[in-house]
Amino acid sequence: GDPRIGIVVFPGSLDDRDAARAVRAAGAQPVMLWHKAPDLLGVDAVILPGGFSYGDYLRAGAIARFSPVMEAVVDAARRGMPVLGICNGFQILCEAHLLPGALIRNAHRHFRCVDQPLRVENTSTAWTTGYTKGARIVVPSKHGEGRYVADDRTLAELEANGRVVVRYLERNPNGSLHDIAGITNEAGNVVGLMPHPEHAIDTLTGPSTDGLGFFVSLVRSMVPA
């Protein structure tokens, strides 16, 4: 049948329904995973959606990282399961050390919601095979703590190994180093990005359909050619 993609729901998750809509639009079946259970219900991939998982108190994603479901997500990620962290999800992946660096308060100290131009720079991750390298896409970006920072060694490693998946174009919305909007781990199965591809799947309700590629790429890699 269709691939089953898990969507983790924390108490403060907000874009979980949006992620489910995008998964359905890509032809897969969304499976909502409640944060209190350490069980991924046999899904083929997992999405950590946007939102304020625990009201983003202390640090965005700092508390969600310790919820039972994250133990299962970290194990699955280590075994190669595709994991996509969107906005708050990216923050949680960094807090859980599945991805290097950290997301901190925007340099201009405000929450900002804009239609953000990005360049897709790595098209070999589980979530980006559907894009052409160097493609310019426009996807909503909405967050208050999205400034990506890491030490020089990590930045150099990310750049050298092409692990920057998407980079901000034209206007850097938060002060991220190297205009980094999204990165992947060495194996290419775990991707985290601050912009929201699930909000760019239908021109009636979004700036473009440029975000569909993240979900279609995953589905295509699941369904035998």
């Binding site: 403060g12 009201g55 900002r112 909000h199 009636l204």
Partner: protein, 674 residues
């Protein structure tokens, strides 16, 4: 030493600080009549806040009746719940109903801008939730003192950050509103927040307690000393030893807890375990229990000891008065309690049975086993004092109207016209507001079709349906200052037109009336005229009022703010893909001006910005023209004959053309005939 009912009978002539709590001698005498004795300190606290202007509408009720008396023809077909409910409910077809309301949080936003605005959003969202609806969007109408005033740089960023901070964390898209500036709002910011929710038309929840034996359940956040105001005077009046540190504190919001409360309530409604529900807003627990018991025509016994507290030192009066946020009160059949608690447990929402519905027709409150309140709930919630306040036309009305703006020097040369246009678009009211609106999440929930800077916020109601709704929130101070009757009508026309311009059919109205002190006869005259104007206009445009809010005492010393009616209009789309945005998109498109242009500068942005003038009479209202324009726009959009449209209001044609160019960076060439 607690002041019990028994104590009240024994010490009949104990002096109570009722004046400090805002009650007049007559009001206090009437309370003694109702009870047949002096009130206990808890009863006095409850009457003082439930009979306040804010809760009882005592100065406005006689005028607000017009909304129920002058009923537009379409009302019976679409109104599923009207004025009395927390928020009106409108049938929008396909089995969907929509509830929407705008409320003010002006005074708290001056004291603590961030928390005042944040708790304003939280409060209106709970009103919508209490109707049984899923909140789906918010809007905000804000008014501040002059942009360059020192205090504005304190209030403005705090309010915008509070609305964004709370709304974004709740996961509710902000789809529109307005920001305006005027010296009269210095010291009196107006923060009006609107929320809209959607529900199945057969799933409306009632705010009533019916059926003796049912449980009264308080759930949500714990109760603290938030926003207690007068009651702490009472608490110290009962000679409590550590009364010294009892300072009334600001209401502080926790959006994360409210998000849990929303999801929890919706699951409780779905499970059918809620027989009645009321949110805890102004006057907290005392208002919720009184309204539930009064609406249900039943009685209620409440045990204050059962209320989960954040601070164990709270006195009974303070527990009844506390305005701690993110709390709801539900009426639950005993056999449904296990399932009720199970759902609350899932969402980590504390829930406690604090009482029972009875058939005594009395609201009885116990503390440490003693009866501290025994009152008829109707006298608290629905039979407060009603005043026919004296009214007098403002003395400056004639001189103001005589100061005719048409004599003001106008631009005659191209350069003068050019500099006038530049001056207008740079003025605070008309300048671009992206710096504020991009602090709000417009995308969450994925159903936002149009938002700022479009004329109305437009939402798709569900993934599998093309039905959509449009909302616009508009107000004006200058027109209403010149003529409150016409000003209120112009506010409605602007919101009505903003909705129609997107192609939606305007359906219903909510309003928030911001005025000075009702004890000022001139303000009371302005208020009565504004209500009369709005009620007449609703009939003329055939859009019923479903509910609203009155905010009095917006003044500095005895100088009131401009009379500021803020009006929200809800419209509906049969097919939301026919919506029409603003903005010139493609070169070669023809620009058509619809409607008649008249020489009308009274209260205009031009007179205000260029000449600092406020005088004359506001523009004429033509309801037939508004209705035919709306019908025309509806048909043009359904036939997809136009690519964009924009209403002409503040700043006139010049501002409309500039905004249409700036939206997508296009230019325009205009020939002005004659």
């Amino acid at each position: 030493m607690t002041d019990t009912v028994e104590q009240a009978v024994r010490t009949a002539d104990l002096a109570l600080p009722y004046r400090e709590l805002g009650l007049t001698d007559d009001e206090f005498a009437r309370i003694c009549d109702i009870l047949g004795r002096r009130p206990t300190s808890c009863e006095l606290a409850m009457y003082s806040v439930l009979w306040s202007e804010h809760c009882s509408y005592k100065s406005s009720r006689v005028h607000l009746r017009q909304f129920a008396e002058k009923i537009p023809p379409s009302a019976s077909g679409i109104l599923l719940a009207g004025m009395g409910a927390n928020a009106g409910v409108v049938d929008v077809g396909d089995g969907y109903a929509v509830t929407f309301k705008v409320e003010s949080h002006n005074h708290p936003s001056f004291v603590e801008p961030y928390q005042g605005a944040a708790t304003g959003v939280g409060g209106i969202v709970r009103d919508i939730l209490a109707m049984g609806a899923r909140p789906i969007a918010v809007m905000d109408s804000l008014r501040f003192g002059p942009l360059e005033a020192a205090d504005t740089s304190r209030v403005l960023p705090g309010v915008v950050a509070g609305i964004g901070g709370y709304g974004n964390c709740l996961g509710l898209p902000n789809i529109g509103g307005e920001i305006a500036f005027d010296s009269c709002y210095a010291g009196n910011p107006l923060v009006n927040a609107l929320c809209v929710g959607v529900l199945r038309r057969d799933a409306i929840q009632r705010a009533e307690a019916v059926g003796p034996g049912k449980a009264v359940v308080l759930f949500g956040a714990r109760t603290g000393r938030d926003g207690i105001g007068g009651a702490s005077v009472l608490a110290s009046a009962t000679f409590d030893e550590n009364a010294s540190h009892r300072r009334p504190s600001v209401q502080v919001g926790d959006p994360f807890t409210e998000k849990l409360l929303i999801e929890c309530c919706l699951e409780l409604f779905e499970a059918g375990v809620v027989d009645g529900i009321q949110d805890l807003g102004a006057a907290g627990l005392s208002c919720a229990t009184a309204e539930l018991a009064s609406a249900g025509g039943a009685g209620m016994d409440v045990e204050l000891d059962a209320v989960p507290l954040r601070d164990e030192s709270l006195a009974p009066e303070e527990i009844l008065m506390s305005e701690s946020q993110e709390r709801m009160c539900a009426i639950v059949k005993p056999q449904h309690l296990p399932r009720f608690f199970e759902i609350c447990e899932k969402w980590d929402v504390p829930a406690t049975v604090i009482g029972q519905v009875t058939d005594t027709g009395r609201l009885r409150v116990r503390w440490h086993g003693e009866l501290v309140a025994d009152v008829p709930p109707r006298s608290l919630a629905h039979e407060g004092p009603v005043y026919q306040r004296p009214m007098r036309e403002p003395t400056d009305r004639m001189t103001l109207r005589a100061s005719d703006p048409s004599t003001l020097p106008r631009p005659t040369t191209p350069d003068e016209l050019r500099s006038t246009v530049l001056k207008l678009i740079a003025s605070p009211d008309l300048a671009d507001k992206t710096w504020a609106t991009e602090q709000y999440d417009r995308y969450v929930l994925g159903n936002t079709v149009l938002a700022m800077p479009d004329d109305a916020g437009v939402l798709r109601l569900a993934d599998d349906s093309r039905r959509g709704i449009a909302l616009s929130l508009d107000g004006n101070g200058r027109f209403a200052r010149l003529d409150p009757y016409l000003g209120a009508q112009l506010a409605l026309c602007e919101a009505y037109r903003n909705v129609a311009v997107t192609g939606a059919r305007p359906l219903a109205v909510t309003n928030c009336l911001n005025f000075g002190s009702p004890e000022n006869p001139e303000v009371m005259w302005q208020f009565a005229e504004a209500v009369r104007g709005l009620a007449d206009a609703c009939v003329a445009l055939d859009v019923p009022v479903t509910g609203g809010n009155v905010s009095f005492y917006n003044q500095t010393g005895d100088v009131p703010v401009h009379p500021t009616p803020v009006v929200g209009v809800l419209g509906v789309f049969d097919d939301v893909t026919t919506r029409v945005p603003i903005g010139f998109r493609h070169a070669g498109e023809v620009v058509v001006l619809l409607g008649e242009t008249r020489e009308e500068f009274g209260g205009s942005a031009w007179a205000h910005v260029v000449h600092g003038h406020l005088g004359g009479i506001p523009p004429r209202v033509d309801f037939d023209a508004e209705r035919s324009l709306a019908a025309l726009m509806n048909e043009l959009s359904r036939r997809r004959l136009i690519s964009s449209a924009h209403d002409v209001s503040d700043g006139g044609l010049s501002q409309a053309l500039v905004e249409s160019c700036l939206r997508w960076g296009q230019g325009v060439r205009v020939r002005l005939h004659g």
